[in-house]
């Protein structure tokens, strides 16, 4: 196991050098060395043997979405226009408690089947709110300004901004191109904005910590 670890470390270090744009080490006099840098080696991240993750509660998730999308917390999601999704409508399903009326003073220890659906609703609602606001006033838009103004780099900028705001990182090339696939007919630019936001907001990386 230790040997495997060292190997991984070495490979990772090599990748890091390449990624930083450092020149390859001077070639030796080895006649088999063509002088062409080798293809980078992709090393998959090792799976944790004891993965310990928690799902965000509905309230944590809504607060994170509000921050990422620069929305007032109360505008993230309200069922039927009145019932806050995380605080009321889907509170228990999303790991909340309600000791006073329902007498539920411990979060559920098994995620109910309705939880992923409830999360989808919260994300679609919040993403929709951000897109509508940005398209209504592109000049003061937070995320989708370029998209709303029809700029050719609008989709790309929107996806990069969403990754940064929600996951705190850049998308890699494959992620970027995958999300941009949503920007095809019949989706309108507004719909693309919502869908791009939705897939990132409901990714496992944004739901668990």
């Amino acid at each position: 196991m230790f040997r495997k670890f060292v190997l991984t470390l070495c490979l990772a270090s090599t990748m890091a050098c390449l990624a930083d744009g450092a020149p390859p080490p001077p070639s030796s006099n080895d006649p088999t060395d063509s002088g062409v840098p080798p293809e980078p080696v992709i090393v998959p991240d090792p799976a944790s043997r004891h993965p310990q993750v928690l799902a965000k509660t509905g309230e944590m998730y809504s607060q994170d979405l509000a921050t990422a999308l620069s929305l007032p917390r109360d505008e993230v999601c309200k069922e039927l226009g009145s019932y806050d999704c995380a605080r009321l409508a889907h509170r228990i399903a999303l790991g909340g408690v309600e000791p006073y009326v329902l007498r539920i003073d411990q979060p559920l220890n098994v995620t109910p089947v309705s939880a992923p659906l409830a999360v989808d609703r919260i994300a679609l609602s919040a993403c929709g709110a951000r897109v509508r606001a940005d398209f209504a006033a592109p000049g003061s838009a937070v995320i989708f300004g370029a998209l709303a103004q029809g700029g050719s780099d609008g989709p790309n900028l929107a996806v990069r901004s969403l990754y940064d705001r929600m996951l705190g990182r850049d998308p890699d090339d494959a992620e970027l191109s995958a999300v941009l696939e949503l920007n095809t007919a019949p989706a309108t630019p507004e719909e693309f904005g919502v869908l791009a936001c939705f897939v990132i907001a409901t990714s496992l990386e944004n739901l668990f910590y």
Partner: protein
């Protein structure tokens, strides 16, 4: 057991549910059909657990004691003879009772048990029992696990496991905050048998569709985005590669795969939408509509907006009708429910208290009134459910009720003593009690065991024949095993005793 949802099976059951819409209400009692059912019929049975939280005392209901029958009439909880009625030829009794107040609460009420018992006695059995705890939470748990008789599986989980595969949400808990709906301790069961909590029957259906009722891109586009997320973005993300084997993530992924789409395709957000379009719930404004069955359900449970128990019962019926669940658990909460038109300041007319504080446990303050009022409450809800289930065809002339069993679960009985001749008195918790089971799948009009009129305590029975046995007390496991046997659940390997007496000769 594999925890996957068989989509074809699932849609098939929903189709059967939809077909039931056309079934009339003329079936009447279906016990003959239920009894004629082939013994190798493996079709689903449906369990309704109606919780008598706080200690539903059987000697204030089906086993009420007439004062003339007891040598200690004034010292124990007996009723004036005139208040205790009995259906012809049935051992099951009823107490019709009115009062001007419930202990210190100055709200009168009229409770009627005889109507319910008169209508359903042929499908009612009382099984006496003596529990093992007078602690509420422990008593509640043991009432549904038979005191951990089968690796800690709850009755609801066992029934969900036996009959719920292919149902979208086999085990639904509409009652919250009691140990009647705690998860069992057998981790070997598939995750889908554990209870799905419903905090609010009005809003819960909204969580059964990820996109309807929102101002979002059309459904096909959202579905395309989900596929991209599920099949490409998440699987290749560094996060999933590192943490993807977490049980929490695995469960999330399994729910997001099959069940999510199946539930949405079944349009449960519409079928289970109990509440009508209104200012409070502006469904049409969000492109939603009430359940096609909701109008009839609201007729039977007209107080569904104000009384949480009626809302639970209405949802329980919809869950069974549309073949969403095979086990539903409902029951009164521990909060005072007042339905006073114009508010409390306008006065508290008779009948305006729908639920006593702490449910049956308000017997500590006012035993007789609390028991009368709360039994009446349970009977009304049971009556409504039975009425609705009888109107729904399961198939081949059988109604849904023909395949259902309603178990009134309670944690314990109440002490029997009272100040000499007192009509208004308080009681404590007592291990000794009995439980009510109602179903066309059992031989009704029976009391398993009996009650000693001089002590007010119940005694047991032979679990095989049902013959009363004064020297015997029945433990929780007997009821647990007997209910499962009545529901034709395969319990082989469980180590449970055989208790055919609950089912009887059907």
């Amino acid at each position: 057991m594999k925890s996957t949802l068989n989509r074809r099976k699932f849609l098939g059951t929903l189709g059967a549910g939809a077909a039931g819409l056309t079934f009339g209400s003329l079936l009447g009692s279906g016990s003959a059909r239920a009894q004629a059912r082939s013994k190798d019929d493996r079709g689903p049975r449906f369990l309704i657990v109606l919780t008598g939280s706080g200690g539903a005392s059987i000697v204030d209901g089906c086993l009420a004691i007439r004062a003339s029958e007891s040598r200690n009439a004034a010292a124990i909880n007996t009723y004036p003879d005139a208040l205790v009625t009995q259906a012809s030829g049935s051992p099951l009794r009823a107490v019709d009772f009115s009062a001007d107040a419930v202990g210190p609460i100055p709200i009168g009420f009229t409770a009627n048990q005889s109507g319910f018992v008169g209508r359903h006695h042929s499908q009612m059995v009382v099984a006496t029992g003596t529990g093992t705890s007078v602690n509420h939470a422990i008593g509640q748990r043991r009432a549904v696990t038979g005191n951990e008789a089968w690796n800690g599986r709850t009755l609801q989980e066992v029934v969900a496991s036996a009959y719920g595969e292919g149902f979208p949400i086999p085990n639904v808990h509409l009652a919250t905050g009691t140990a009647f709906t705690e998860r069992g301790t057998d981790d070997s069961l598939p995750a889908w048998v554990y209870g799905e909590p419903v905090a609010d029957p009005a809003l819960w259906p909204l969580a059964l569709d990820g996109k309807k009722g929102l101002n979002t891109p059309n459904a096909a586009l959202v579905e395309r985005a989900r596929i991209l997320r599920n099949e490409r973005l998440d699987p290749r993300s560094r996060f999933q590669q590192v943490f993807g084997k977490s049980p929490r993530i695995q469960r999330w992924l399994s729910q997001r795969a099959g069940p999510q789409k199946a539930i949405e395709d079944a349009d449960l957000i519409s079928k289970l939408m109990l509440f009508p379009d209104s200012e409070q719930y502006p469904l049409s404004r969000y492109g939603l509509s009430p359940s096609p069955a909701a109008a009839r359900v609201r007729e039977v449970f007209p107080n569904f907006e104000k009384d949480p128990l009626e809302a639970q019962a209405a949802m329980a019926f919809l869950l069974l009708k549309f073949r969403v669940a095979v086990s539903v658990t409902l029951g009164p909460g521990f909060d005072l429910v007042l339905d006073a038109e114009g508010g409390v300041r306008a006065g508290l007319p008779d009948g305006s208290m729908k639920n006593t504080p702490i449910a049956f446990d308000f017997s500590h303050q006012a035993h007789r009134q609390t028991q009368a009022m709360m039994w009446d409450r349970l009977y009304r809800v049971a009556d409504g459910l039975i009425t609705l289930l009888r109107e729904e065809e399961y198939g081949d002339g059988e109604s849904l009720w023909d395949r259902s069993l309603l178990y009134v679960a309670t944690e314990f009985g109440r002490t029997r003593s009272r100040p000499a001749g007192a009509e208004d008195f308080g009681t404590g918790h007592d291990l000794n009690n009995g439980s009510l089971v109602i179903s066309p799948m059992i031989q009704g009009d029976r009391v398993l065991g009996g009650v000693d009129a001089d002590t007010g305590l119940t005694y047991g029975y032979d679990p095989l024949t049902g013959t009363p046995d004064r020297g015997r007390n029945m433990a929780e496991v007997n009821l647990y095993a007997g209910i499962l046997e009545a529901m034709a659940v395969d319990t082989s390997g469980s180590g449970l005793p055989s208790v055919p007496a609950i089912r009887g000769n059907v």
